[in-house]
């Protein structure tokens, strides 16, 4: 600026504003992309295990799920069937036995319902409803199919008479909400595995007994207890 000729000190202002606006616009997809894993990661997972969603059967309409992975299916007369979901079974793997409370004893929603036995570990599961136990499924371990790999139906574990059924059901997930929750659980599992699905297939194609065991041989029960909301 010599004081004898004009020089526009704001000449670049327009360009600067445009640059800032475009950077902010660019930032939106940048932020979204950096915050979540690449689509290819999901696709890689799917290609290794076709339709990851098939692993954990999507929740059926009539089932009401507790966040500890037990479910309740109302039958009639305030009696509900209670069981554990597909995710829980796949997570734990081979179950050697189940310790049930006695018929006639009471259970409470969110409190301990029954205990799974697998190897040396015992893992509690939470009951989805309040009420009195009217029946337990003894035949689970007597038949060859057992409680592990059955994919046709949802074998029930207990039948409970629930006086406050509608109140209980309000606290459980079903339908679209349950589906969303399951997606979140699946996501957390993928994150745990760091999307490294090779860990699950040890001997070239055979699914290792129990997802939790393949994540952590020693402390797999702690992982399971996390998902079952047992502290």
């Amino acid at each position: 600026m010599d004081g004898f000729t004009y020089s526009d000190i704001f000449a670049t202002k327009g360009v600067e504003y445009l640059l800032v606006i475009s950077v902010l616009l660019l930032f939106i997809p940048f932020w979204r992309m950096v915050s979540r894993p690449a689509k290819a990661m999901y696709e890689a997972a799917e290609s290794v295990v076709p339709a990851l969603s098939e692993w954990f059967q999507l929740p059926e309409e009539k089932l009401y799920y507790h966040q500890g992975h037990s479910w309740a299916m109302p039958e009639n007369d305030n009696v509900v069937k209670v069981g554990m979901d597909d995710f829980a079974r796949k997570l734990v793997g081979k179950i050697d036995g189940i310790t049930f409370p006695q018929v006639g004893s009471r259970v409470a929603q969110g409190e301990k319902g029954w205990t799974l036995l697998a190897g040396a570990k015992s893992i509690d599961m939470l009951s989805p409803v309040d009420g009195e136990i009217v029946a337990i499924n003894d035949s689970l371990f007597s038949s060859p199919t057992g409680g592990g790999q059955d994919r046709e139906g949802q074998p029930w574990l207990l039948k409970v008479r629930t006086p406050k059924l509608s109140a209980n059901l309000k606290n459980l997930l079903s339908g679209g909400l349950a589906r969303k929750w399951m997606e979140g659980v699946r996501e957390s599992l993928l994150v745990r595995m760091n999307y490294n699905l090779g860990a699950l297939y040890q001997d070239g194609g055979v699914l290792v007994d129990g997802i939790a065991k393949s994540l952590d041989q020693e402390h797999w029960d702690e992982i399971v207890k996390e998902y079952f909301l047992i502290s």
């Binding site: 507790h66 929603q109 909301l229």
Partner: protein, 295 residues
């Protein structure tokens, strides 16, 4: 005491005015009252059209401050452009221009708002009220003043275990005694004029307009970096005689002022923001854990 300081200096000044030949300006220079009262900046006007390159100023400076005396008889020193050094607070350099050889004396410019003073964290560099920029021994030797000087003047004694910063002090100790700087006194060609900065600018303008075409119409140091104590006149453009003309008119301390004034703002706002965010996220976590617990 019989005679008070003011009267003594007045007498001294008058005596000197009578004994020394010179223009009315010289008489004004030596108004010891003003110098003693130190109300305004003093400075030196360097008229490069009068300088003959004798380097008496270099010798006088060295003598006055106990530094090795340069051999001014050996003119080979003028063959290269020299910077000031730890043993030479001022140097005279020769430049070949289209108007022949021009000699320019180089030393601390004694800026109105010195970068070195703003840089010094222990106030070792200080701008005195009479204009001199002085260095003091409480210096830490951090050399930040060297980074901040637009003219690269402060020089550091790297080879000493007890190093000092060396630069022209405008003969501040002599100024206290009512004397002129040694270089100004020694100059035989009246190229150097000491006086109040205000008066020197007037004198410089007088010379520019009085002797039409002799000088480039610019007083170097009038506005450069906010104005300096040393002012220069030349017959050729200043770039040709070793002066930087790209320094701007903003005083250098202004460049860090913005940052310095943001400090209290950040220290005020950040803790409030941080505690606020902390409270919000803590509450969010509490709510979440409460909801997630009992189901």
């Amino acid at each position: 005491m019989g005679i008070d300081r003011r009267t003594f200096l007045k007498g001294l000044g008058a005596g000197m005015a009578v004994t020394l030949p010179g223009s009315s300006l010289l008489a004004r220079n030596l108004e010891a009252e003003d110098i003693a009262a130190r109300k305004e900046f003093s400075g030196v006007l360097v008229d490069t059209t009068r300088c003959v390159g004798c380097r008496s100023c270099e010798m006088a400076c060295a003598e006055a401050h106990g530094m090795p005396i340069p051999d001014i008889g050996d003119t080979s020193a003028l063959d290269t452009v020299r910077p000031t050094s730890v043993t030479q607070w001022t140097v005279v350099n020769r430049y070949k221009t289209d108007k022949g050889d021009v000699f320019a004396k180089k030393q601390c410019m004694h800026c109105n708002q010195p970068g070195c003073v703003a840089a010094c964290l222990v106030k070792a560099m200080a701008k005195q009220p009479d204009g001199a920029v002085t260095w003091d021994t409480n210096c830490m030797g951090c050399r930040y003043c060297m980074i901040s000087c637009p003219f690269d003047i402060p020089k550091f004694e790297y080879d000493s275990a007890f190093p000092k910063i060396q630069k022209c002090s405008l003969c501040w100790e002599r100024l206290q005694k009512g004397q002129k700087p040694a270089c100004v006194e020694a100059c035989p060609a009246e190229a150097l004029t000491f006086g109040k900065r205000r008066d020197l600018i007037e004198e410089a303008n007088r010379r520019i307009y009085g002797e039409a075409g002799k000088y480039v119409s610019h007083i170097y140091g009038e506005r450069e970096v906010g104005g300096t104590g040393y002012l220069y006149l030349a017959a050729v453009p200043f770039e040709q005689i070793g002066f930087r003309t790209d320094l701007g008119t903003t005083a250098y301390p202004e460049y860090s002022k913005g940052f310095l004034y943001s400090v209290p703002i950040v220290l005020l706002l950040w803790p409030a923001f941080l505690i606020g965010i902390n409270t919000i996220t803590k509450r969010k976590n509490e709510l979440q854990s409460r909801e997630g617990g009992k189901r």
